[in-house]
Amino acid sequence: MNAIAAAGYLESLLAGQPHLPAASPALGWINELRAEAVDRVGELTVPSLRDEDWRFTDISQLTRLSFQRAQALTPLLPADIERFHIAEASNRLVFVDGLYAPRLSSIAADSGVVVTHLTEGGAEHAALIEAHLGRHANFGNNVFAALNTAFLQDAALILVPRNTTVSGPLHVLFIATQAGVASYPRCLLVAETGSAVTLIEDYVALQEAAYFTDAVTEISVADDAQVSHVRVQREGTQGFHIANCAVSLARASRYHSVSVALGARLSRYNLNVLQTGEGAECSVDGLALIASRQLADTHTYIDHARPFGISRQLHKCIVGGAAHAVFNGKIMVRPGAQRTDSAQSSRNLLLSDKAYIDTQPQLEIFADDVKCTHGATVGQLDNEEVFYLTSRGLSDDVARKLLTYAFGAEIIERIPVASLRQQLAQTVLAQTSGQP
């Protein structure tokens, strides 16, 4: 795509921006943040294959289409979204085409946690919001994070006070209902010292036409706090999904994430985890299960900035049809981050002749007393395993489907929410047994 078309594209996306209502007086700085983001969008260009960060993901099919921000909330009844409910979740925030839908949301009265959104509960927690919102997800060099920030309006806010353990996961559900719409989901989770919480970030669609989701999530985990983050991307088959998530881990905090990418015609997920305190621990697991002409790109960056940090990563791709999976996982060990212990693994299964994969696990190490390993494999099912199952009477076809399912299930099993785990296991089973 040429530069002129790209510039025009960003302009057309920005068109809806100036009509946003002003934030409340206590949050006046947000208007400045938005203005700054608008300026930045003007300076940045749409990434192309020439950018090292985007060299395997061609987004020209996205930039050929034009999208507008939703003007009105699609009237949905609770029954319309019932199938997306997660039994264990006592708190549910629902956004329809990027706009907050209070009648579909349900917030528990006293779960000890603040669950709100920017326009409604922002003023009350202004100081905390100011300390975190827009502070973790840097948009200086990221046009999609800048666009999202330019449209910052209905952000989901979850504030977990000191030493509070939130029972049951918090479900933030983003629903796409309109064709041609660009939505800018935004989520901020602040887990204060010693707290514990599970967040489910869920992207679904009630339609099959083209639309564009440009999401940003920021998660701050204070000393000794623990966050489990489950991310399910099950967008519509014609959807475009680009998301940035920035996580900041303080001393001895723990962050466990499982991201599952199933939907969208094209998806890109950037997850940046920064260990800012000593002895922080994270596990970052992912599964991309795609087929037909889908493209799923996951870029993760785990930054060990302090000593005694631990990271574990297992990322899997199961690619069928003529789909294309991309994985780029960088582990950075900064000078002085001694005794870092990091293990990263990228495992990939290609199910058809036309499917393909680009994987890049990367280590950058600037400290000498560290233990870092990474590995990557691309291949097909292990013939020994297939043989073992067939020797016990299973047909070759059934054996392969079973092993393919098991390959994906290893990630699904790491989801700490039983009902969601079962739901996704069913999805994986359906999709893997439907494969040729």
Partner: protein
């Protein structure tokens, strides 16, 4: 870092002297006139001049690669002299007529130019600055049909072969430095092993940069016809200058059906001093084409020198069942920067590749492995195994691993593993507690770390490589 480690990794550079010899040095700067001048000096045929000009015009449109993980001030390509050659007293017909100063230089470097003094069974082509000064065992090799000598000679004596293969693996516009080399290369080695011939001795090229301010742009072309095999060695040194010198070589290997080429390098260009002043910029394109079925190309490199190394000896596995191998030890110290690795391009069916890379960083150096494994849709049954290990000595250096894995065939299998280890106080204490001194402990750890690569080197080179690392061999080289 302990004092013992310091001493072990900080061996002084032993090849830093300058030979006082009268040289024919071209004025600095690059233009079409420079290329015409080089071509005229070498009395080249027109097709070769066209090749150079095409490369030069393409080079003008290209930019230096920005993706390597190395930092250096911009290079002024007009400040480099593109031709430097020792002035021959007269036309050489035998070794006895070589300038005695040159003979002494290479003797000092441990490179024998006299056949009678040569290492048993190694033929050497010696390149001084930009030209080949002598080739040993040339006639003996000719008896079995092997052509071995400088590429300048080959251009005149075997134009059909050079014309057929030059640029066939690394096209003129392949990358910025390959284009530059194609435009201005002055000499290099040429080697042709005819059908069915197993080369009876190791062939070797020794490269020496002598003149300050000159770049070295040599071009090596090795062809192994059907069923032929050859083992080729390359060594490099340069004097100590405070200015950086550019070395942009191109090596092309072609293996036809059932042919086998083994290419080993011990690279010890001047690396600059402890504070990072001076040293060679080693920006090299090396690529082998396994054109025939069952062919094999194996690269082994021990990289200890150069201020900056940017080099990815690669294999294009076109023939079915062909095999590519890459074994590398890269050692960096002080302010050295290395971004090195390989590319394995699987195109043929059942092609196999192995990558074993060992990076050792010390001082303030930066050592990166960058490797591409690409499996094309046609590469049914392709297999790759990569292992990339890093060792850090001290806490101010860095080690990076950047593997790129691109698979377009679902019956291929690609595996990559990497790990990091260190030599530190605790490791040395374990050895000391069992009665083993630090020097021996470091030697054992380093040799253990590198043995998978050293095992691939011909014996003389293995000894040379181990000496270079400044460590004793202690039975770990098989």
């Amino acid at each position: 870092m302990s004092a013992v480690l310091q001493n072990l990794v900080n061996q002084p550079y032993k090849h830093g002297f300058v030979t006082d010899i009268e040289s024919d040095v071209a004025p600095r700067g690059l233009s079409e006139e420079t290329i015409l001048m080089i071509s005229a000096k070498k009395q080249e045929p027109e097709w070769l001049l066209d090749f150079r000009l095409k490369a030069y015009r393409q080079w003008l449109t290209m930019v230096e690669p920005a993706w390597p993980n190395v930092k250096y001030p911009p290079i002024d390509f007009q400040e480099i002299s593109y031709y430097a050659a020792p002035k021959p007293k007269k036309k050489l017909s035998s070794m006895d007529e070589v300038d005695p100063e040159l003979l002494r230089t290479f003797e000092k470097l441990g490179v024998p130019m006299h056949e009678r003094a040569a290492l048993a069974g190694v033929a050497v082509d010696v390149i001084f600055d930009s030209v080949s000064v002598t080739t040993t065992y040339k006639h003996k090799l000719a008896e079995v049909g092997i052509i071995f000598g400088s590429i300048s000679e080959a251009v005149h004596e075997h134009p059909e072969l050079v014309k057929k293969y030059l640029g066939s693996v690394v096209p003129v516009g392949d990358n910025f430095y390959a284009a530059l080399n194609s435009a201005v290369f002055t000499d290099g080695s040429f080697c042709f092993i005819p059908k069915g011939v197993k080369c009876p001795m190791d062939l070797s090229t020794y490269f020496r940069i002598n003149t300050e301010g000159s770049g070295q742009f040599e071009r090596t072309l090795i062809i192994a016809e059907e069923g032929a095999s050859v083992s080729y060695l390359e060594g490099c040194t340069a004097p100590r200058f405070d200015t950086n010198q550019l070395h942009a070589a191109v090596v092309e290997l072609i293996a036809l059906d059932n042919a086998d080429i083994k290419y080993s390098t011990v690279q010890n260009w001047y690396a600059g001093d402890e504070s990072g002043v001076g040293g060679i910029y080693n920006f090299v394109t090396k690529r082998g084409l396994c054109r025939g079925v069952n062919s094999r190309i194996s690269w082994t490199q021990v990289e200890t020198g150069s201020a900056i190394t940017w080099k990815y000896p690669s294999c294009v596995l076109l023939g079915d069942n062909s095999v590519g191998e890459f074994y590398s030890v890269a050692v960096t110290n002080h302010h050295q920067q290395a971004d090195t690795g390989t590319k394995m391009i699987h195109i043929g069916r059942n092609t196999r590749s192995t990558i074993v890379s060992k990076g050792i960083s010390a001082g303030l150096s930066n050592n990166s492995y960058r490797g591409l494994v690409k499996v094309a849709p046609s590469a049914e049954g392709a297999r790759n195994y990569s292992q990339c290990d890093s060792m850090l000595i001290g806490d101010r250096c860095s080690a990076n691993t950047f593997p790129y894995i691109q698979v377009r065939n679902n019956r291929a299998k690609v595996e990559h593993e990497a790990s990091t280890s260190k030599i530190g106080e605790d490791q040395l204490f374990l050895f000391a507690q069992r009665g083993i001194g630090a020097e021996e402990a470091v030697s054992m750890i380093i040799n253990g770390f590198c043995k998978d690569v050293f095992q691939q080197l011909p014996m003389e080179f293995a000894v040379e490589a181990t000496k270079l690392l400044g460590f004793k061999l202690e039975g770990s080289v098989g």
